[in-house]
């Protein structure tokens, strides 16, 4: 699908054409899911966040000014929805009783030991343990292959801020890996 085709589909979707919007969903759903997963770290939550983001995108499609790519605009919504879900998840977690927390941490330790057996899985775990903004920029920039400009547009911050987060994320990643190796 060319950019002109997508623009035409967006115009149709703006007039309330559900079929056109469905085409947009099919085109961007996997990437939106990956972006959501990079933040929420959970398949169920990623599914919910991605679907919720598409619903919001449809409702606010009239506000899309087409001065940026549709994917950038959509991922910005996905990031916002996902960050909100993470906040809710944290609130839920803080309500957990000590007993449940102990059980969860025991299970996590088991998982951790198991994951250590595979280096790449271990690397992935360290990546996912990074602070949320650092993790999001590293994944969006280096795993999802978006440009620094796109990432700055999605997260509504300057390219300099994105680079700072990226740099700190990469340094944290390296330091944590070195610490574990020792």
């Amino acid at each position: 699908m060319t950019a002109a085709d997508e623009q035409h589909i967006i115009h149709r979707a703006k007039t309330g054409d559900n079929g056109a919007f469905r085409l947009l969903v099919s085109r961007h759903m996997k990437q939106a899911y990956n972006v959501a997963y990079s933040i929420v770290q959970n398949h169920h939550e990623a599914e919910e966040a991605a679907q919720d983001a598409f619903v919001r995108a449809f409702r606010f499609l009239g506000r899309f000014r087409e001065d940026s790519e549709f994917s950038t605009w959509l991922y910005r919504i996905v990031v916002n929805v996902s960050l909100n879900r993470v906040k809710k998840m944290k609130r839920r977690m803080s309500r957990e009783t000590d007993e449940t927390r102990a059980l969860t941490s025991a299970a996590a330790d088991d998982m951790h030991t198991h994951e250590n057996s595979d280096t790449m899985q271990h690397f992935e775990k360290v990546l996912h343990d990074l602070p949320i903004m650092q993790r999001a920029v590293v994944i969006l920039r280096h795993l999802d292959g978006l440009s620094t400009k796109q990432v700055s547009s999605i997260l509504r911050c300057s390219e300099g801020t994105v680079k700072t987060h990226l740099f700190r994320g990469l340094r944290n990643l390296r330091e944590r890996l070195e610490f574990i190796r020792q």
């Binding site: 996997k30 990469l170 390296r174």
Partner: protein, 267 residues
Amino acid sequence: MRIEEHILNLLYDYLLGEMSEKERLQAEVHLQHCEECNAECDKMQSTLERLSELRYAPSTERSSEFWSEFPIAVGRRLQAHKPGGRALHWVRWWGQLLYGSPRYRIAGALIVLAVGTVFVMKWNAGEKQISSIPDKGKIGIPLELVDQRAQKYFRQSGVLMVELANRKHYEGKPTDLSLERRVSRQLLNEARFLKQQPLTPYTTQLMSDIEPVLIELANSEHHSEKPTVELLRDGIFQGNLLFKVRMAQIAYDSTTRMRIQYASMKE
């Protein structure tokens, strides 16, 4: 020694090739001389290489059925979000008045203003009602009604004084008497009306005994210190007002009961 952050950002740009030719040449010259930056550059390069190996896409872990179902699930959600499609739609609508666009916020402010005006008007109407109690000279009030109001007056005075007598005072904390002040003002108004009615001398005397306590309370501060509460309590105990008010209540209860019995016998 740690390298400054803006230099590290430049190294990052250099590794990703996100800089002009001139900047790239300058960076290379710097890297030939600076061991720290060179070491940092190598480490960053290896981290980036490992990241590129990872290329993890969680979407690949979901089945093809999941992806064929995904647009349908979004469609279902869209249906549910249509106006009136959800029971909680009105909650979101009210939320718009608080957090929505300026137009919605102005509408919300106008609603609050309208409700506030109605509330203030009702409140003032209530105040006027209390202050415009008709006296006997202008409107003849049936004796039964006078007795009922005297009965209510003594019952409320009793409750107020029992409350004051039992009020605990915590050191260093002022006591909130705002409710008591409001009630005492209403009772003073009521006493003014009742004194103009044909009551027994005992009742009129008792009302005069209660009056100083009510006046003192009505003029007290919102949050009174210990001495004010103690003064009121002394006034109640010294005049033996609790006992006297209780007696008056019993007398009026029995009078009202007798009147009701007499009225039913007449019928």
